[in-house]
Assembly symmetry: C2
Homo-oligomer: 277 residues x 2
Amino acid sequence: MQQGYARIRLDVSYDGTDFSGWAVQPQRRTVAGVLTEALDRAFGPAVAVGLTVAGRTDAGVHAVGQVCHLDVPVEMWAERADRLLRRLAGTLPRDVRVRSATRVPAEFDARFSATFRRYAYRVTDAPYGAEPLRRHDTLAWPRPLDLAALNAAAAQLVGEHDFAAYCRRKEHATTIRQITRLDWHRDDDLTLVGTVQADAFCQAMVRSLVGAMLFVGDGRRPDRWPGGLLTRRERSSEVTVAPPHGLTLIEVGYPADPADYATRATATRRLRLPTAL
Amino acid sequence: MQQGYARIRLDVSYDGTDFSGWAVQPQRRTVAGVLTEALDRAFGPAVAVGLTVAGRTDAGVHAVGQVCHLDVPVEMWAERADRLLRRLAGTLPRDVRVRSATRVPAEFDARFSATFRRYAYRVTDAPYGAEPLRRHDTLAWPRPLDLAALNAAAAQLVGEHDFAAYCRRKEHATTIRQITRLDWHRDDDLTLVGTVQADAFCQAMVRSLVGAMLFVGDGRRPDRWPGGLLTRRERSSEVTVAPPHGLTLIEVGYPADPADYATRATATRRLRLPTAL
């Protein structure tokens, strides 16, 4: 971080329906693009710098607990912090909201200080499809789903494994991740919610895991199948990636003690970016 | 009901955002219009007749528990009942769903046999506005709301009263209604939900009641004000009608014993349509 700057944490939520994902892309409407425009209006063009996000969600994926950081000149922050939330609420489109903006220690890194990410996947097996008011964040599955089968499949994926079968290939990047929670419950009579928490996920991993489990849930695969794929060393073509609109980033966790931000960030960088160190 | 017909009850839900309300209007997209088209495709043009709804929701109002009835030739019903839900799911747009279709006694009248209607109104006082994924059914209120004040105002509206101050005027129609439940709770940190149940509501009544209570909730009116308006014999211009998108029809109740459908319908007709009898 440059001298004279304050590090700011933003808590962000969005309806991913009309976004081509988080990351800025030319000619596309993205969350980072829209947010950068609003920040430029709030602080002046390119005054807020270094926007970094905890979870780069794919096109169509939603968030209620996304976290990012950026740096703003200290005096600018002192001047504008008070009215920032209302100001951003006024300029941002209604499908993205900044829920809070707080100054954090310079060591806080939205991406590398994170200790976990938790996602939820909503799917309904109602014969009539998704409830109209929840159709934007609920997948309609055309066959009945068995909760016990989903949970049996889920149980075998918990723990530290090489998730290569479930990851888009990326050069020199490890596909070893630690899933600390993966389970399903019925939210109401006809909606199932899968919750998955891990230290981090590789690209399309959550939707690949969900895709595999849904094939167990509707009886087309045995419940040992998703766990069995963990022996593969590369992406499995048998796994169908579940559609993005059922998926929502719920929470990103950070060390309780700010003194641990830097330690955690260094450890994560060593693990995820071995070639960069 | 014509001889040789079966009476069918449909349970319907919809996202009211893109509808000009329930009732068919020329050149407008309405729930009844879209539903009639789908029924015409399922049974043949104009084969299903007498579509009658429990609660004629206004433009922009949602429903998860709307009920209507219609009549279909008995042999047609016997033939097509099995696949009707999947068929309607395939032809209806995604913002309206038929959750169930069941044959009921000929005495069942979706409108007049109903014993209660229950609505919920969602409003947030978060400084950043409505959560993106719930922005279609949650009103963003720009001032902090006090839950105790809302409930104090609500308590005075419960019971049988003349709600003329809260009703759009209609010739020869009574504005006496019985509210059996009206209360507010916090759904999460930043969303308040008002629940109101009555035997029936006159037009715009729920949104007028909510509009009055919100002015108490944010401190601009004393909590005795909404109850005080019950002495008025005509619509009060001081009451601001709350926007439609926060409102959802949750449930319509009917007598537990089908033998009471007809009795209830006769009693309701006598009360609501005195000039028609």
